[in-house]
Symmetry: C5
Subunit: 324 residues, 5 copies
Amino acid sequence: MARTRLYRDGTLVLEDFPVADISDHLADPSSVVWLDLCMPGPEDFAMVGEEFGLHELALESARNQGQRSKLDHYRTHEFLSAYALFVDPRSGRLSTSEIAAFITPRALITVRKDDRFDLEALVARWDESPDLTRYGVGFLLYGLLDHLVDGHFEAVHAMDDSIEQLEDLLFQEGRRQIHAVQRRSFVLRKSLVGLRRVVLPMREVVNSLMRPGTHLVPEPLLPYFQDVYDQVLRATEWTESLRDLVTSVMETNLSVQANRMNLIMKKVTSWAAIIAVPTAITGFYGQNVPYPGFGKEPGFIASSAVIAVSSVLLYLAFKRKDWV
Amino acid sequence: MARTRLYRDGTLVLEDFPVADISDHLADPSSVVWLDLCMPGPEDFAMVGEEFGLHELALESARNQGQRSKLDHYRTHEFLSAYALFVDPRSGRLSTSEIAAFITPRALITVRKDDRFDLEALVARWDESPDLTRYGVGFLLYGLLDHLVDGHFEAVHAMDDSIEQLEDLLFQEGRRQIHAVQRRSFVLRKSLVGLRRVVLPMREVVNSLMRPGTHLVPEPLLPYFQDVYDQVLRATEWTESLRDLVTSVMETNLSVQANRMNLIMKKVTSWAAIIAVPTAITGFYGQNVPYPGFGKEPGFIASSAVIAVSSVLLYLAFKRKDWV
Amino acid sequence: MARTRLYRDGTLVLEDFPVADISDHLADPSSVVWLDLCMPGPEDFAMVGEEFGLHELALESARNQGQRSKLDHYRTHEFLSAYALFVDPRSGRLSTSEIAAFITPRALITVRKDDRFDLEALVARWDESPDLTRYGVGFLLYGLLDHLVDGHFEAVHAMDDSIEQLEDLLFQEGRRQIHAVQRRSFVLRKSLVGLRRVVLPMREVVNSLMRPGTHLVPEPLLPYFQDVYDQVLRATEWTESLRDLVTSVMETNLSVQANRMNLIMKKVTSWAAIIAVPTAITGFYGQNVPYPGFGKEPGFIASSAVIAVSSVLLYLAFKRKDWV
Amino acid sequence: MARTRLYRDGTLVLEDFPVADISDHLADPSSVVWLDLCMPGPEDFAMVGEEFGLHELALESARNQGQRSKLDHYRTHEFLSAYALFVDPRSGRLSTSEIAAFITPRALITVRKDDRFDLEALVARWDESPDLTRYGVGFLLYGLLDHLVDGHFEAVHAMDDSIEQLEDLLFQEGRRQIHAVQRRSFVLRKSLVGLRRVVLPMREVVNSLMRPGTHLVPEPLLPYFQDVYDQVLRATEWTESLRDLVTSVMETNLSVQANRMNLIMKKVTSWAAIIAVPTAITGFYGQNVPYPGFGKEPGFIASSAVIAVSSVLLYLAFKRKDWV
Amino acid sequence: MARTRLYRDGTLVLEDFPVADISDHLADPSSVVWLDLCMPGPEDFAMVGEEFGLHELALESARNQGQRSKLDHYRTHEFLSAYALFVDPRSGRLSTSEIAAFITPRALITVRKDDRFDLEALVARWDESPDLTRYGVGFLLYGLLDHLVDGHFEAVHAMDDSIEQLEDLLFQEGRRQIHAVQRRSFVLRKSLVGLRRVVLPMREVVNSLMRPGTHLVPEPLLPYFQDVYDQVLRATEWTESLRDLVTSVMETNLSVQANRMNLIMKKVTSWAAIIAVPTAITGFYGQNVPYPGFGKEPGFIASSAVIAVSSVLLYLAFKRKDWV
């Protein structure tokens, strides 16, 4: 179901009215309209395309999945493509929800390509700043971008938490831990690749809106877009930091693994020696040659003594070297 | 065999007419011509060079294999060099097909350097947008670039799928799997190197067409070239992401290998100990000295008991440490 | 408790007067005011917001934790966000203290988000240059930035010392050493990531103040801001160098580990051989077949001689190869 | 021996005339002179310096070995420094031959710092394009750069072939192969470092010649310099690709090594077990205690059966795991 | 002791006159003065500060250790901070000597922060070009920079030699060699980090002197500064190359280590097997069961034959695989 809103002279006057009424409402030059379409069909696109005079390429971009985050300028309107981000807190796996928007001088049309985008949070974001509604479409666009970028930042934050958990695992002992670090750091690196692909282009999107000469953003709204831009930069810088951190985790994990290998090798050596030496001694006393004590009590005593003493000495020697 | 097309006032009026008729057709100032040459010989080059007044350097570039993707400006025409891409879905191996094009104000001459380029798909792409044919050579060029860049994007997509398959292999057990990851990630890295070499320069190619002052692209076509440019950027960014991903795969594989090494070492240690301890005990009871129970039933019972108990204890100890 | 200062015609005339008096003091056009708020509550923000006409976004940025280091320009004032840095000299762990500042033509309002920032050192910094106080807010801002950037540089320096200590550990023997290098280099890399996030944006902050056309900095103060900028650059370059150094340490550590592994393996081989050969010989003399010397004195002598000679020869051979 | 050439009105009129005649020939304003000096002595430099009015710094640069590839502008002439490249096809080792050139409005003086540069090929290159000789020094310079850059490209190509051979080695078995990959990839990386140092600065050299306002290159020659520039870019991009490839080879080699290590470890485990178990059993039957079958035929049969069965079972078990 | 020099109308007229006479000498507008201070005290700084009207920040920078290499512009003079470099040829360890300089229209004041800088070489450098002395302070500055940058280049060269020696070590056998490669490549990487920190900022220093509008460098001297700039670029590029080389060395060393590990493992396996098989056979003949030949001559012959044959066969098998 499509959602609609009508603003007139900076106040919300109507909500959820039928899409068919939009033309009538727009007849009043002081009115501004928001229209949301969720997974619209071809006929919906045809309708809005005609009603708002949208370029066929913009419509096609809104129809197709997997667009870049971008802001395309057409003669009579702008086209925005962006992503909302979700991070699974347990695995650090990233998923996205694509959103498109047409921005005309008096209407904002949002197109959700799936239903995972949190529309109510966006509406609530708009209603939080009633004093800015008088800036019309510029304000609606600001609210949309602010909501998206806040979401990006939260995703970065969630990813940071996931890496923090990973770090805690890093120096813990145990077989499962190594496996977990491997898998999770791999998932995190993959998620970071996806995160970058969504977050980095937002810089250009928001920046192009703030360039002098673009009349899309009224002057009093500029600090607000600057604020969104700062948030984008922060998310970008943080994302780059996270890449560094995951790389550190992976490299440290390799070193931890190498270290464990060394410890195991030392243990192998030590215990192999502690067992091999008595075996060699019993071999000696198992010979069918008349060594001193052959077949006699003193032989047994000698054998047992040598075994006991050599084993204990070896054990202590290795203990001192911290090898067993 | 050369293919030809004649557009007049924005409509296709003739197809596959003899190359010799081109001069006559171009006499009419409203006509636009497309000529395709597949692996042309020197005499073909001489002919088109004279007919369209092409620069000798452009002709030489079209003749030679292995040009950069580029757009060269000459006084009376432009020269385009680009590549179509093919990805073997099984191995992720990349192969290319080189294409050159001369762009004069009223003719597009495409030169295929082998016959792997899908010409029919290009023609179909042109026939999809009959309403744009009125923009003449600009439209033909747009269709060509759109077709090429879509192909690049598909190649990136196919590569992404290959990496996805590789990731599935990554944490699987088995000797063949490690070998497969090594070989395939190596092939993929090599393909990505080739991919970058083809995709990255396209940015400059498309961008230089859109610069103000280049009268090659009529203003109404600009959004279409912008669309191609967005696609190029998307392919470029994705390619960079893939590099990151393959690197992650390779590094994770190294860590997985190190981990397996550790597991094997632990197993070696454990089983070596479980076998060595009974051997040492039998060595003891094999001595030719009168140890308690020498040559007597209780000796055998003691020996067997010690062997059994020590083996089971060791096994359980290692089991608890998750080493066997 | 809020701290205050009043400068008139370039001299400090009042300190720690009540916040409520600020309006009166500012009535005199030659007066300049400094106000510091530590962890202010909503009512404090409301008060300064109204008193100095601050933008709501600036106030919100001052309220929230975790801002980027940035300088935002509003119509009537500037907003600065920055961090003081602390390095734990023992572990190299970095911690930060966030500070915000509103800069109006005649007032500097600093907002500390926790109480770790060393306010007295800042005040002392200001009192060090009495001849510059005549430049009003520009001077106060210079003192603040100089203090912050000096702190950043000290943090970089402390980090450098930590890395130096790490290097000393690198080629030392001992199990604990490897563990220490791993943990500490990991902590250092993490701290460097944090350091970069604080230090790098300062370049843009200080640079934007020095751009021609910004009337924030009076011309005679320009060399002083240039000096701060040089310090920022130095901290930045040094930070990048430290990244290089820590990477070198980690990679060298891996190589050191691999080398130790090799040494251990050689030892294992050598000692295993030195023990295994006598064992094989006693096995020979333990056979129940009439080998030469079976059950006779010469057999024992032969056995002992072969064991002794082979063990000594092996030991010497390995010693010469530097394996034991 | 110095080589000379005299062009008049775009045609070659004299060759290999004495250096002393140059002044006379240059008296005719339509004449253009080429002079080549191979490893000239101080008196040669003094002579050309005076004859052509060359700057002492340019002369010094031509005298010294190891200049950067660069184009220096002096008031009355230009100074070019560049390198010819040679790749040993067997080892991939790179060597260079330095060349300098003074470019005055009517003379090109080339200075070879050793005799490895292929002068005849350069002269042949010039004679290939008789229709361009009318552009005087600009043409001579174009021919020189085209020859040099073609040589760079061939070097890149030869290096690519060397890497291709290395890749073939990568997955082959055998001790010598690993050693070969190590040595050759190291040599290739070193050669690539040298290649970059020669090729990258050529971009700036050729580009600075094509900048508007430099009257060195007549307008009709611009496409030719653009062509050289394209070739430089191609060589540059390819060089960067090769770095990627060699890195891939080295990293894959590390992974191949780790994999081999794992395979060997598995074999060690398996065969150690297959030998250790029978040894343990014979140890049991070697005890001097009355185990069932002690000293009797059935004991021998039991012992042999247990040995045979356990060995075969172990072998099959390992075989199924693909460990032996 | 301070050194001084007085130039008048481009000729050196006085040397090592007392510092106190400088004011008198500068009264003559055609005179140019050089003053060198080595580790000056506060009163020296006060004196030159007043005499030449130097900015307090410049003086402070000259007083403090550890400045960036930079050129700061003040209203009446410039301030230069730079480093001379020394490389220990045996270890490749880098050390620096800091130097500062004040540049007024008619005086150059150099401040050495320790006595390692080779002042006599600088003076000799100046005396080499008597024909340039007429350009006054610009010439003195050129001589200083040329001397410094030449020193940087020599340091780069010495580092290159050190790396070359390291490469020779790389494929040599022996325990000490690996240790040496580790330690030396670590020292070299550290030195390169320091080298970059000194060399890279020189680009900006020299470049800012050559910018149009800076009247510091008279036009005829421009080619000389360009020459210094070329040298700086060459040192910079070479430094980057060296980083690449050291990284190659370290990575190749890791691979060499892994390879050695594999060789050792193979040897372990082989010799372990060659010893274990005879041990197993003697174990068989040590059983107290009536195996064929028990207690009889043929048994001994059989045992000896099996031991000899199996050992020789194993040895040959491993020899063929190149494992022993």
